[in-house]
């Protein structure tokens, strides 16, 4: 018999499973689900996983994350699985995709990049040079971006 459920099933919302162990808080930051909202959020960390040994899981009630929001996950949890839950059942499974360019997802973290002027109107763009290991560079200034810094400059 499988291990006892740590968090109850949700009626409606989004479940993000198979997040690398310890990264769930960063995922919340990336998805911006942690600010200005009152949806119940359940989070479990470091639970046993057949696939990866340990994993984190995030359940967000009463909110279906859009594909654009989910694509942000590709930065820190490219192998996470996402299910949209309606009336306690999996209504949809969504794929996370890391495209060739991330537009208006995060700001370049380099202090002297032209995009640091918040009044400049063009979109923030990061080019994906390599997915594994992840190498992202600002499309304007060309600087490599660290994930830790990017998590702080999510748009």
């Amino acid at each position: 018999m499988s291990e006892m459920r740590r968090v109850t099933a949700i009626c409606n919302g989004t479940v993000v499973d198979h997040i690398p162990a310890g990264k769930a808080l960063q995922v919340m930051q990336m998805l911006r689900v942690d600010i200005g909202r009152s949806n119940p959020i359940s989070l479990v960390m470091n639970v046993p996983s057949g696939k990866a040994g340990r994993k984190d899981v995030l359940k967000i009630e009463d909110r279906e994350l859009t594909q654009e929001e989910l694509d942000r996950l590709a930065l820190i949890a490219p192998n996470a699985s996402v299910a949209i839950i309606r009336n306690y059942s999996v209504a949809e499974k969504r794929q996370i995709e890391l495209g060739s360019e991330l537009v208006n997802i995060a700001k370049c973290s380099f202090w002297n990049c032209i995009t640091q002027n918040s009044r400049e109107p063009l979109p923030h763009k990061l080019r994906v040079i390599s997915a594994d290991p992840l190498d992202l560079r600002c499309s304007y200034c060309g600087r490599s971006q660290s994930i830790e810094e990017l998590a702080k400059s999510i748009l």
Partner: protein
């Protein structure tokens, strides 16, 4: 119509073609021949940061080809009033056929190119890139060595903030150069650039020792430690004046070795070097004119007829 923001915008074949065109344009650059190929065209010369050679050589190049130039400097313009780069570029788009931009912020040239329809040439963006300087550097190297293939090139000085070395090293490894990067630890070439350089399969050596790198060099490319790029003046003081080349240092150099410098210099090349056969930096500064002529023609889609320079 095409932009030039980094050296990645040019293939090796295009680089060689531009050098060939520039070579044919030398008599026009010297004023020995008149070729009004860009008559009726207007260049917007936008310098948000100081410049002597780049601004003047672009202006000279445009005028020698019969074109006109409108200038903008950040002092006394609406930039000083807080206008965004985006808005400024919209004006330039209306007033000129091609824009040359130098800006203290990195990425400003690509940003400008995305903001407007006319071609944009990057004349230096912060500590980022300076591809038109690279083209004249390659021109100078080829003029002296007859080739830009497989040379042993030593880059000395501020490799962290030095945009000329960033663009030049990217181009040289594509032509099989062996690079020796000489700098104090605090001014090392940024890691992502070193990774890119090595990915081309070229030998890239990092050292703090200039003297030990001279004997094997085909080209020594000196750069100024740029006070204006340091966020902290104490850091600048620690490394200012760290490399000083004198004529005596070149006693063991190869006969055909050349010393280059994008200029201005402070004290990194002693005037005693000027009179040696190795010194090419003033010739290099002139080469900005024919090279930038070739780049202006290319970006404006103007062919340089075969008769020019024959």
């Amino acid at each position: 119509m095409s932009d030039l923001i980094t050296m990645d915008d040019l293939s090796n074949e295009e680089i060689l073609e531009i050098l060939d065109t520039a070579e044919r344009l030398v008599p026009v650059a010297k004023g020995d021949m008149y070729a009004p190929l860009l008559q009726g065209k207007v260049l917007g010369n936008l310098f948000f940061e100081n410049s002597t050679r780049t601004r003047m050589s672009f202006e000279s190049a445009m005028k020698r080809l019969g074109g006109e130039v409108v200038n903008l400097s950040s002092v006394g313009s609406s930039v000083a009033k807080g206008e965004t780069l985006y808005d400024t570029m919209q004006m330039v788009d209306g007033y000129s056929d091609i824009a040359v931009i130098r800006h203290p912020r990195q990425g400003a040239a690509q940003y400008s190119a995305d903001a407007i329809g006319i071609p944009v040439l990057n004349a230096g963006d912060g500590a980022g890139n300076h591809p038109t300087q690279t083209m004249l550097d390659l021109f100078t190297i080829r003029e002296s060595h007859g080739t830009i293939d497989g040379l042993n090139v030593v880059l000395v000085g501020d490799l962290r903030y030095g945009r000329t070395t960033h663009s030049l090293s990217h181009a040289l490894v594509r032509f099989g150069a062996k690079l020796t990067l000489v700098s104090p630890d605090s001014l090392r070439m940024p890691d992502e650039i070193v990774t890119d350089l090595k990915s081309h399969g070229s030998e890239v050596v990092e050292t703090e020792d200039m003297a030990g790198s001279i004997a094997e060099a085909d080209v020594i490319y000196m750069t100024r430690i740029q006070k204006e790029r340091f966020p902290d003046e104490d850091e600048y003081t620690k490394v200012a004046g760290i490399y000083k080349m004198t004529a005596d240092d070149l006693a063991g150099a190869k006969e055909e070795m050349i010393v280059m410098h994008p200029l201005p210099r402070v004290d990194e090349i002693d005037p005693s070097v000027d009179s040696t056969k190795h010194a090419k930096y003033f010739k290099q500064a002139f080469n900005g004119v024919p090279t930038r002529m070739a780049l202006l023609c290319r970006s404006l889609g103007v062919k340089v007829p075969k008769e020019v320079g024959q």
